[in-house]
Point group: C2
């Protein structure tokens, strides 16, 4: 009798559930539920206004995903809950919220309903930037060694700046809340009735390290006396590696989801990191690029190297026993969308329409005819700053080589190539710092939809590019972890490595580097690298001075 | 009784005649005639194919301009030929042609009709680039001092490379032709029946210098033995300063034009240089920028300075007694046209149409709302190489500062600003080399049509910008020289300076620099200058390497 597992992927605007075979990973059915409150970035639902750069969510939406999608896929698949042996979830991160000690979100309480700080702060809540800046200054001046595990900088998107903002702006809220918890862990609490904390978000977002734990209380005191005991008072020192079982479905969760009480629940996970087993990666030095509006690069290593410019290195941060390395590019699909919206001439739209093609397809066909190097163009992919390896949000885009003959498709291709050079910089940066990168996988929308882009990536990084076999990488990854939480005896697996090998998959078509193209792109990458360092490492800080000037004239 | 003068301006595709008051310059009537043969760049009229980069014209078209436009303006104006005291002309340059000793173009002869080298080589005939390269090498290796009068480089557009091409590719033509002459001087020959040679084209295009004459025969011998006596055999050592009278209308020319025999004819002139008196410039250190698809900067000085990167310095090259300096930007209006054609999104066209505006107007209105520095963008205006001060056709465009918020009008404004920084580089280069630039005038299409661009120029060069009062600058300039050829006794002027002061004019509206904008643009110009030198003076020759690579992959 086949057994099945469920994976639930919580994105920025919706949640998606998938039911899969617990041994083979075969996908049986899936369902999506859009968050009714979406992202609150102007006001709360009751009209209470929010400041600039806020981004909140209502955790009721997360529960509603469970109550809508899980019963739906059970019904669609025709599978009996008796044969569903586990559930796993993944979440955007760092999406984090204040709750009472029984797990009730502060925003569920009548008296705090209209208080912005009572809600979940979404990953892209950027209103704690001043806190992040002060934190980084203090950490640097204290010579905190952990800072180098995060490429030298803590982001305003992460836990400590966000809780600090509450402590400073709404001290009453800070005092009333018992716990401050990642949504990734909170949803697990709702399923199995007890609080757990996963090693992935703890490591990447909360400055936790498996060997050295959290920064000392003195450090938090230096931020603000109110934060002195923040770890013990609001967070937790009990961190559980990925791949463990968190608990079992409670009777309440069974009512909510239609699953049987006692069904295994996996420890919480993060939407990018959880994709790794979904492509079958089961060991170190295999990089997965999750390519969407931005790109996240996840890889496991066998040692802790402090590689400059990465987003973080965390033991057990991807799979137990390995060091999870994360790097990123803050703007990939967003580049292409910017170009399409702002730079494609009317004549191209007309011609595309005539040929009954969408504009991406039309441009792709024109681009495909171009040989590498033919446009004479070269760009730096910094339209939204540089996350890795320069970690500098104040950098901006650059393109050169334009002539009166330059065509839109050449510019478009140059932008695509620029993002691939950016990925190659990340790969070479790892290698130069003692971390090999031996294989390259891609998942996410771009990898699924755009063969030309994938070929360009292969030619530029000079490695085969393997493509995720599932279009629902995170949900499948969560299902794989669910199979491990259930264990072999129940019909799943005892090891995430074994489960990844059996349930994860790639497409048959692998993009292999074309030697002639590699030769040209090696030359172009050398040029990219010189300009990358010239503009990005302080030789000519013109981009920052222009941004300063822009800010000055805008407010003068 | 009022007296009148005629100016005829020969452009690339048409000729335009103007009749004006000989004392005040008031424009009475004008007429245009388009060349029936236009530019022959693929085949001759009979289908004889041309090589790449050829550009020829048929001089019959030049005669047809006279026979069509001059009678038309006489008729339109109602002025009697008795009261028309002079005619002046200006031409594109270097547009040059082989003729027999009576002035008959070789292409008018039946036996040479189907021979490409028999026709006028238009200024933009670029098929002698290999000759120009060899000429420059030889001149540099001989240490020829005159080379520095041309910014260190002779262009393939000029006389010697063009006649060398005939000598090498069609030696029979070379032997049969008696003279090789600028169209500017040939048209005067047709009007007054004798060959004259003007100091402007001789100086700027033929390597003639008032003090030292032509390069020695040994130099020409080094190019090719066939060219050893080229000056004496095909050109002329008798060079006449601008502002002189060439002769008088012959009976044949009177029949052609409807003018009276005996009417004064001015020495030939060039379309850019002739504009100087038309804006009333009558002395040194006042720069005129003629702004169209490209920009030409003409200024007079009192001494011969060898300023690096200019196009030429020629005694009597603009007005007699002064040194005429010429510099240029190879791509100005062409930048903007490239942008409009390739980078303006469909949504902008739709919105412009809705508002019943053309796209330039629509973009202008959006641009006008931007403050200097607000876009955060900076560009190098090298889409078509850099003519001054780097003299390098292999440079290409660059832009930086783009973000996901960057809008098309910001890019457009950055391109405009880049051309203004390019002009400022030219101005500062003169100043740094001992040639003051005290005033700035603009003529040509852009100066007439675009107030915003003119304000940006004023803010960036930090000088008032005075705008030509006539939309027909070259034709008016030619008419002014016609008045001087006729002389005061006949109702004109004895001095070009006096005539320029009285007949030339600027608009009432002068664009004055806005101090707040100047302050911002000074900062941006400093950034431009650093990048200009980084990419343009050899620190990082990435643009040239990309061009090389492009050529390699295109033909591999």
């Amino acid at each position: 009798m086949n057994k099945y597992v469920i994976g639930v992927d919580y994105g920025t605007l919706s949640g998606r559930a998938l039911i899969a075979d617990a041994r083979t990973g075969e996908e049986i059915a899936s369902a999506v539920y859009e968050y009714p409150h979406a992202v609150m970035d102007k006001t709360l639902a009751d009209g209470t206004p929010l400041g600039p750069d806020w981004a909140l969510q209502d955790p009721q939406d997360y529960l509603d995903v469970l109550s809508h999608t899980v019963p739906e896929i059970i019904k669609k698949s025709g599978i009996s809950p008796v044969d569903i042996i586990g559930i796993g979830t993944d979440f955007t991160a760092c999406t984090v919220m204040p709750v009472k000690k029984d797990g009730t979100p502060m925003c569920f309480l009548q008296e705090f309903k209209n208080r912005p700080h009572a809600y979940a702060k979404l990953w892209k809540h950027h209103a704690a930037q001043d806190k992040a800046n002060r934190l980084n200054e203090i950490a640097a001046s204290h010579g905190e060694a952990w800072l180098n595990n995060y490429g030298g900088k803590i982001s305003s998107e992460w836990t400590i700046p966000k809780i600090w903002q509450i402590a400073e702006e709404d001290p009453e809220m800070y005092d009333s809340m018992d716990r401050f918890i990642e949504a990734a862990d909170w949803i697990i609490w709702q399923l199995c009735g007890k609080e757990t904390r996963n090693s992935c978000t703890a490591g990447y977002k909360e400055i936790w390290n498996k060997k050295t734990g959290f920064p000392p209380d003195e450090f938090f005191h230096a931020l603000s006396p109110k934060l002195t005991h923040v770890v013990d008072e609001k967070l937790s020192r009990h961190i559980i590696p990925l791949g463990e079982k968190a608990g079992e479905i409670t009777p309440e969760a069974a009512t909510l989801t239609g699953l049987r009480p006692g069904t295994a629940v996996a420890i919480g996970n993060v939407d990018a990191h959880v994709c790794v087993p979904a492509v079958g990666i089961d060991g170190p030095f295999k990089m997965l690029a999750i390519m969407g509006t931005s790109t996240c690069h996840i890889m496991m290593g066998t040692e802790e190297h402090q590689v400059p410019g990465m987003c973080g290195v965390v033991e057990d941060g991807v799979m137990p026993g390995f060091f999870g390395y994360e790097a990123g590019q803050s703007c990939v699909g967003d580049h292409f969308a910017w170009f399409i919206e702002n730079c494609v001439p009317a004549a191209y739209y007309e011609e595309a329409q005539k040929q009954n093609k969408n504009i991406y397809q039309y441009l792709s066909e024109k681009m495909e005819k171009l040989k590498p190097g033919e446009s004479g163009l070269l760009a730096l992919d910094w339209w939204n700053g540089n996350r890795s390896v320069l970690v500098d949000v104040d950098l901006t885009g650059m393109m050169l080589g334009m002539t009166l003959q330059t065509k839109p498709e050449e510019i478009y291709r140059a932008l695509i190539e620029a993002t691939a050079y950016g990925t190659r910089m990340i790969i070479e940066n790892y290698r130069e710092n003692g971390v090999p990168v031996n294989e390259f996988y891609a998942s996410g929308g771009i990898s699924q939809k755009d063969p030309l882009i994938m070929q360009i990536y292969s030619d530029i990084i000079s490695m085969p590019v393997k493509i995720a076999g599932s279009e629902q990488g995170p949900a499948l990854g969560s299902a794989i972890f669910a199979s491990v939480a259930a264990g072999e005896e129940a019909g799943g697996y005892d090891s995430i490595f074994e489960a990844a090998g059996a349930m994860g998959r790639i497409r048959d078509r692998i993009y292999n580097p074309i030697p002639k193209n590699v030769e040209v792109y090696n030359k172009l990458f050398n040029e990219y690298r010189v300009l990358h360092d010239y503009f990005g490492r302080g030789t000519n800080d013109v981009m920052k001075r222009l941004k300063d000037l822009k800010n000055k004239v805008m407010f003068s």
